[in-house]
């Protein structure tokens, strides 16, 4: 069982910046799910997932990101990815998710996406 921490902050326009650190694996996948969906449920459809300190995300985690992106899109929002570490970036590339998610390397740029 590995550690996962999720913290969130909101910018003045109501965009949520969700910082996901550590490991997203079978042991904590439900928590990751809840943390992400709690914002979408509350109607915040604009989410930046900051992956700077993300070390691992399993396929279920990727699936959750996918679904979140679709739900957000339905509400005229989006889920964008910030600062993918090299290893995770490779996972995104292999899955072709770099073709689906907007990826940014600075928070400023990411916020401009909305």
């Amino acid at each position: 069982m590995e550690n996962l921490t999720v913290t969130s902050k909101s910018d003045p326009r109501g965009i949520i910046i969700l910082k996901v650190s550590g490991f997203v694996d079978a042991s904590n996948i439900n928590r990751f799910d809840e943390e992400l969906y709690s914002h979408i449920k509350r109607g915040t459809a604009k989410i930046v997932v900051d992956c700077s300190d993300l070390q691992y995300i399993n396929s279920m985690g990727m699936g959750i990101l996918l679904e979140a992106r679709q739900l957000a899109a339905k509400r005229n929002g989006d889920v964008v990815i910030l600062n993918l570490p090299k290893k995770i970036s490779k996972v995104f590339e292999i899955l072709g998710f770099n073709e689906i998610f907007k990826l940014y390397t600075s928070e400023e740029e990411a916020l401009k996406a909305f």
Partner: protein, 495 residues
């Protein structure tokens, strides 16, 4: 004998003993009181007679003596005779209500006067006077004994009084016994009833009823016991449910695993100059890997490896679907990119309700004659090509998005196929992320680098041996760490 009967028997016996003893004690006390009273009365009457008869005896006033004894017998209840006489027994005055006067007279004379001023008590000896007690006292004047006074009191009065008490006390005691026994019966029945309830509930629990709550509306030990039982049953139910859930899950896992195993090709097609080898080691719990090799037509052979996200039965069914669709579309003669696009289209519809699931698939077509391989990928880790002539080992980066994720146009646009030529000694290894993610959290993962490094050492071996070699390196990399995902590899090598 049940608890209630036992309690009632004990309590009943106790009640009978207590009430009987109490009644006997009351009776005895009454008897004693009556006797004491009679004694005091006899003494006082004897003294009274002695006092009153002293003077007439001195004065020889026979008339007064006669009326004195007569009055006492007449006026005092239970006094059956009064007697005054001189010591010689010549002047005697006896008044009595008894019939046998002569016999009585003899009896009285046989009693020796005490001589002092103390009253002496004595029961008459003759059988027909047996319930008469004699009180006698000497009559003295100026230290000289003049005579003796006797009072006879019958015990018949006492006996009658005692009989009266008995007549009252016996029915009262019996009634009390009956009343208290019934009361005890009622109270014990009430007190024991919860035990019966608890015992029947415990039996029901033993027979499998874990649903009905156990509750007693009382705050004593039995109430606590009921609460404890209820808590225990709740825990049992939880454990039971958990076990069932676990068993269900395990069964599902087993079924999924069976489906997965049966999906794997049983016969690997024989192609001249080409060697195939596969390795599949299912994980303990999760895993959605599969591979397939099938001839498309006489000239071409399809081979693929894939990973279905979402485990258990639903994952396994998705795997069945993907494999079936893959074969169907491939045999239809479509080129690999088209096949993947069709699969994506199907899966988009299939997973419309489940947007977090996707399938990665690496699909390749071997042109047997040209020995060329067309590689396509839908979100799958790139296979690694080992070139014997160039002495290089590097990934083949065909590009594409995982199946079921994005709409057709987008999917098709992102697809980039790659071709490699499989000369003798060349090899292409297909794998899933289970291989590269081994020991990820603790050691960073075996990775593509680890795989390439391993292949560097053993690419010259036969197809099977290459896989064994990689597996060996993987296991030694993992050491004691658990391997959590399926380990799947498929290798094609030119001879």
């Amino acid at each position: 004998m049940n608890l209630r009967t036992k309690f009632i028997l004990w309590t009943g016996t106790l009640i009978v003993v207590i009430i009987t003893l109490t009644s006997a004690l009351i009776f005895d006390q009454g008897k004693k009181a009556l006797k004491d009273e009679r004694g005091l009365r006899g003494i006082s009457l004897a003294k009274h007679l002695m006092g009153l008869s002293r003077e007439p005896l001195l004065l020889k006033d026979d008339l007064a003596l006669h009326s004195l004894v007569g009055d006492i017998v007449k006026n005092e209840p239970d006094v059956v005779y009064a007697y005054v006489g001189d010591l010689a027994g010549k002047r005697v005055f006896l008044a009595t209500s008894l019939e046998n006067r002569d016999a009585l007279f003899k009896e009285i004379l046989s009693i020796k006067p005490s001589g002092s001023e103390k009253v002496a008590l004595q029961r008459l000896e003759a059988p027909y006077f047996s319930d008469i007690v004699d009180f006698s006292i000497g009559i003295a004047a100026q230290k000289k004994t003049l005579g003796v006074a006797h009072i006879g009191i019958s015990e018949k009065g006492i006996k009658a009084a005692l009989a009266k008490i008995r007549r009252k006390i016996v029915p009262f005691s019996l009634l009390s016994i009956v009343f208290f026994v019934f009361l005890a019966f009622g109270l014990i029945t009430l007190a024991v009833r919860p035990i019966g309830y608890l015992s029947s509930r415990a039996l029901a629990v033993g027979e499998g009823d874990l649903e009905t709550p156990i509750f007693l509306k009382q705050r004593d030990e039995l109430g606590h016991l009921a609460n404890s039982l209820d808590w225990m049953v709740k825990k049992l139910r939880q454990a039971h449910d958990e076990r069932i859930e676990k068993e269900k899950l395990k069964k599902e896992m087993d079924i999924a695993r069976q489906i997965q195993q049966r999906l794997l090709p049983r016969n690997i097609p024989e192609v001249e100059g080409i060697e195939f080898a596969a390795l599949f080691e299912p994980a303990q719990e999760i895993g959605g890997d599969f591979y397939d090799i099938f001839p498309i037509d006489e000239k071409r052979l399809g081979f693929a490896i894939g990973d279905v996200a979402g485990k258990s039965i639903s994952g396994a069914l998705l795997m069945v679907l993907v494999r079936t669709l893959l074969r169907a579309e491939a045999l239809d003669g479509k080129d690999p990119k088209e096949v993947l696009a069709r699969l994506n289209n199907f899966l988009r519809a299939e997973l419309a309700e489940d947007r977090r699931r996707f399938v990665t698939l690496q699909y390749n077509v071997l042109d047997i004659k040209a020995r060329s391989i067309t590689c396509t990928s839908a979100g799958h880790p790139p296979p690694i090509f080992m070139s014997a002539s160039e002495k290089t080992i590097k990934p083949v980066h065909a590009k594409g998005i995982a199946l079921g994720v994005i709409e057709d146009d987008h999917f098709s646009r992102a697809l980039v196929e790659k071709k490699v030529k499989l000369d003798p000694g060349d090899a292409l290894i297909l794998y899933t992320d289970g291989i590269t993610d081994v020991a990820y959290s603790k050691k960073g993962g075996f990775g593509e680098e680890g795989l390439i490094k391993s292949l560097n050492n053993c690419h010259a071996k036969k197809a099977h041996d290459i896989l064994s070699c990689v597996k060996h390196d993987l296991k030694s990399y993992a050491g004691t760490l658990a391997i959590e995902d399926d380990l799947t590899m498929l290798l094609i090598k030119g001879k």
